[in-house]
Symmetry: C2
Subunit: 154 residues, 2 copies
DNA sequence: GCCGTTTACTTGACGCTTCAACTGATCCGG
DNA sequence: CCGGATCAGTTGAAGCGTCAAGTAAACGGC
């Protein structure tokens, strides 16, 4: 006996399903067009640029970038080939690898940031009022908390 | 002069960014594990099962499945190989192709549906109250309306 | 202090999506 | 009608993500 979605629930769900497909595509398109970066690549560079010493362990970087370690490893290899990141083993514990943003990498993400933030603003933030923005934060937090990989399993 | 996100805006955005990455992954994982289907494949089969005569034009099916025509073409080819869909050119206008759900395809999607709906419920719907559900619908609709490919350009 | 286990990360192969180029079918101006 | 333009869909190649297997360093029990 399946508990199917009623029309109200279905409508909300279909709206969300459309969003999770199309919003990432739109943001990727802007970054790709204007900076030649995928959203994930941008995220990696941006997180590094915010980190102390422009440097983070691969596993921490993977976590805050919402990606798997394997995915990050492939992406960092490509970013390294483009000269935006370097990798070096952690001196204290050889199991860890630190990803470090280079000077050129910093320039790259600095140049890409305004366009990306502009897209986030025009596609999301500026289309919602203050109440909606707060509701969105609460809703996303609530759903994310129940997802596998959350630090809050309840 | 970039208009950066303030802490409130940033917090909402990061929550949403996490959601659009992790929610599809979680739904895909359930479908893949329990039915051997991707979310997009499920969507295609589900939309066909709701259509009159279990049949839709490729381009209409692509639109309501939130995918490109090219992606759909590849996926329908695979679904056809698995015996769940057949394709035939439209008799009236040879440019159109109709995708039609087979009997086995109907059984497949019928078997997969309860598990998928259960996942949507437990991960999304049942975690929100009625107000949040309605707010979510409004927010997603508002954002989606501004995305490329929307029927409502404003 | 040695060996098995665990941790952190890398790698290669496979599958899926995208993009651009292509095929066919229909429309339309003259 | 005939030829170019447009429309619907397909295809192949290239790139990215995932998974499973592998490597290398550090821990931990004895």
């Amino acid at each position: 006996m399946t508990n199917w979605l009623n029309p109200t629930e279905l409508s909300s769900w279909l709206s969300l399903a459309e969003l999770v497909v199309k919003l990432p595509a739109a943001l990727d398109a802007q970054l790709q067009r204007d900076s030649g970066l995928s959203h994930f690549e941008y995220m990696v560079l941006a997180r590094l640029s915010e980190a102390p010493a422009q440097s983070l362990r691969m596993s921490s970087l993977a976590a805050i970038s919402n990606g798997s370690l394997s995915r990050l490893s492939h992406v960092v290899k490509r970013l390294e080939q483009r000269g935006w990141v370097v990798r070096e083993p952690c001196p204290e514990d050889g199991r860890y690898t630190n990803a470090i943003l280079t000077g050129t990498g910093r320039e790259k993400v600095t140049a890409a940031a305004p366009g990306h933030v502009g897209a986030v603003r025009s596609l999301v933030i500026d289309r919602l009022d203050a109440d909606q923005l707060e509701a969105l934060r609460a809703i996303c937090g609530r759903i994310a908390a129940g997802l596998p990989g959350s630090t809050c399993p309840e």
